[in-house]
């Protein structure tokens, strides 16, 4: 009706009293034979190219002329190797029991000729689209089972038709036979990966990173041994301390800092050694590339924010982020400077942490605590070098000292 409106044609070619007669032919045009109109509408108003289920069969009733009785009869199962005879209820039509094998025998995974023929027929019709084929297959078989049957039959045929074994050894059907269990496992693993939650992903990444660090430090230690660098002697006492760290769970915070710092430095040495080793394997490289690698290795334990702060500090110190004249000594100095800045930032963090600890302790005990003498000393300390330590690199110290943010790092130095 709307279409006619759009086209500008007259709405009703038939007068109203005739509408009733015109309805039945309209209904038959709609074609929902055997299924309700609403269900048919779900398909989008078009019938599927090839109906999966015969719709006329859906509402079929048993024919009235048949007389149905149910009998308790014995049966045999061709899937069984023995001759066990069991009994079950059988639907008997007009006194004639059904013929044929036990209907569940086909589920014994054996392939009958009929099944195989049907498989190949479907394979041809649906272009080896096994997912569609599995859907249309009469007995319920998995995609992997169908594939397995198809490929093994093809392989058998190819082998039978080939004049000599050597001719077919290059054929992928022969070279890489379809492995059902492997395929099932592979798909299961894929779906597991797909359905991994973010939490799991993060955990996996952490574990992998840890494993990578361990292997790298092991490789570095191995390389260090081979090249007779004194790195092993360096890492020795530090790794011993690392071993004792797990036992130090109840120690006060000050002691905890030490082992973690030595872990960081031994990891750093390992990173450096492994970078050197990989550089040596290159046979030729640019000095700037080498510096870049070493810088990355040195900052491997630092987060992005820390790295940005290191670069900020370099700029404040008037140092080029990338040396303009990258000679061997310049690069070495540059690297050492970066490491020292990292140390500096770590110490600042430590100091902050300790102060926060101290201040929170005091907050609990006192209502309104004035600044301790030590603090005001530090706050007002005219740093001879270049910037007051509190706001170095834009650091926020603690809630207490927020007011001190007034010290910007652009203060002139006396």
């Amino acid at each position: 009706m709307d279409a006619k409106d759009i086209l500008g044609l007259p709405k009703n070619s038939l007068p109203i009293p005739q509408e009733k007669k015109s309805r039945p032919p309209k209904d038959s045009q709609r074609k929902p034979d055997g299924i309700s109109r609403e269900v048919y509408a779900l398909t989008g108003g078009l019938a599927p190219l090839m109906p999966a289920i015969d719709s006329t069969q859906l509402k079929k009733q048993p024919p009235k002329d048949e007389k149905i009785t149910w009998q308790w009869l014995p049966f045999t199962n061709s899937a069984r190797k023995d001759t066990l005879q069991l009994y079950h209820w059988v639907r008997v039509v007009n006194g004639v029991p059904p013929t044929g094998d036990y209907s569940f025998a086909k589920y014994n995974k054996g392939w009958t000729k009929e099944e195989t023929d049907q498989l190949f027929d479907l394979c041809q019709r649906f272009d080896l689209r096994f997912i569609v084929i599995a859907d249309r297959f009469s007995s319920s078989r998995t995609v992997e089972e169908l594939k397995d049957r198809y490929y093994s039959v093809c392989r058998a045929i190819v082998a039978a038709r080939a004049p000599a074994l050597g001719d077919i050894s290059g054929n992928p059907l022969v070279k890489e036979p379809y492995n059902v269990s492997q395929e099932i496992e592979r798909k299961r693993a894929l779906s597991m990966v797909l359905s991994q939650t973010k939490h799991q992903e993060r955990k996996d990444a952490e574990v992998l990173a840890e494993a990578k660090r361990i292997t790298e430090s092991r490789m570095a230690a191995k390389v260090a041994e081979e090249s007779e660098l004194p790195v092993p002697s360096n890492a020795g006492p530090e790794s011993a301390e690392r071993a004792s760290f797990p036992g130090d769970t109840v120690s006060p915070s000050s002691n905890v800092q030490l082992p973690s710092a030595t872990i960081a430095s031994s990891a750093l040495t390992a990173d450096n050694a492994s970078t050197l080793a990989s550089l040596r394997m290159l046979r030729v490289y640019l000095r700037t590339y080498a510096l870049d690698q070493m810088v990355q290795a040195a900052s491997s334990s630092a987060g992005l924010r820390t790295i940005k702060r290191v670069e900020q500090t370099l700029q404040e110190l008037g140092v080029n982020l990338k040396p303009r004249v990258p000679t061997k000594s310049v690069c070495a100095e540059h690297l050492e400077l970066r490491k020292e800045i990292l140390t500096l930032l770590n110490l600042q963090k430590q100091l902050q942490y300790k102060e926060a600890e101290g201040s929170s302790f005091r907050d609990c005990s006192y209502a309104d605590t004035p600044s301790t003498p030590k603090r005001s000393n530090r706050g007002g300390d005219q740093d001879r070098t270049f910037v007051p330590d509190m706001s170095f690199g834009g650091e926020r110290v603690g809630k207490r000292d927020q007011k001190r943010k007034v010290h910007s790092y652009l203060l002139p130095v006396v």
Binding site: R280, V325, S329, E340, T343, L347, Q348, L351, K374, T385
Partner: protein, 269 residues
């Protein structure tokens, strides 16, 4: 000039580890064959280079498609002859140029062209067979227009863009070492005492007698000066500041923690 391998924490005076034991395991013939290819550990050869471009505005003679004439090059940092190390240099120009792949079989390694656009040039260095069989890639962005837009373009003064870098050969062969031992284009560490090298085998043919150094290059007056002294001073000053700061923070931390805190050196200094 002497580069002690300080970053490797290894004194160059340690004897060659692959000494007599190594040789006794091989036949004499093997030894002779392999001696030139034997790699040396902890003896690093570095070759300082400068690569970049120089562009002159053509002024009145400029046309729509050729506003500048420019030269892209690779030279020794002290204008020494790179031919002792580098066998061939390939400059990959923008595809709009005729035969954009320019191959230079001998120094001076440079390409001169005229154009209007700025683009990235890929420079590939190929080394002599006893140096390294793997090529090295450099990338340079051709600069035609001066930094400040108000800066007037001059036909006399070029726009120069140069980058300093060093080619490092971490484990050079003995043959290479013998050949370049005293050449000014490369930097070597002091060799271990009593260490003898085989007689050098020249790689280039006698026909290539053209001078490869760029000391008297027509554009040499515009070459930039790269001195490590300034940068070293700057870095040393910066390090001093940071170290002083670190010391102060450590003192502050120890004050908070009290006498029971053992302040071993937490950082590597």
């Amino acid at each position: 000039m002497n580069n002690s391998s300080s970053s490797k924490k290894h004194s160059p005076d340690q004897p060659e580890t692959s000494g007599p034991t190594f040789k006794s395991q091989r036949t004499k013939m093997d030894t002779e064959k392999k001696i030139l290819n034997k790699k040396l550990k902890d003896v690093e050869i570095s070759c300082p280079i400068v690569y970049g471009s120089m562009a002159f505005w053509l002024g009145k003679k400029a046309s729509e498609y050729q506003s500048h004439k420019w030269t892209v090059y690779v030279r020794g940092a002290m204008n020494e002859d790179l031919g002792v190390v580098v066998k061939r240099v390939v400059f990959q120009l923008h595809s709009s140029f005729n035969s954009p792949t320019r191959v230079l079989e001998s120094p001076p390694f440079e390409v001169s062209e005229a154009g209007w656009g700025e683009f990235e040039i890929a420079i590939t260095l190929y080394f002599h067979s006893d140096v390294c069989d793997k090529p090295l890639n450099l990338y340079h962005h051709l600069k035609l227009y001066p930094e400040d837009e108000s800066g007037s373009m001059s036909t006399k003064k070029p726009v120069v863009m140069e980058t300093y870098d060093e080619i490092v050969f971490p484990e050079p062969s003995e043959g290479f070492l013998a050949r370049v031992q005293n050449h000014p284009a490369v930097t070597l560490p002091r060799l271990p005492i009593g260490f003898t090298l085989p007689p050098p085998v020249p790689v280039e043919d006698a026909s290539r007698r053209k001078r490869g150094d760029t000391k008297d290059h027509p554009l040499s007056q515009w070459f930039m000066n790269f001195s490590e002294a300034d940068e070293l001073l700057q870095l040393a000053a910066a390090r001093q500041q940071v170290q002083a700061h670190i010391a102060k923070l450590k003192r502050q931390i120890s004050v908070i923690d009290g006498p029971h805190q053992q302040l071993k050196s937490i950082s590597d200094q």
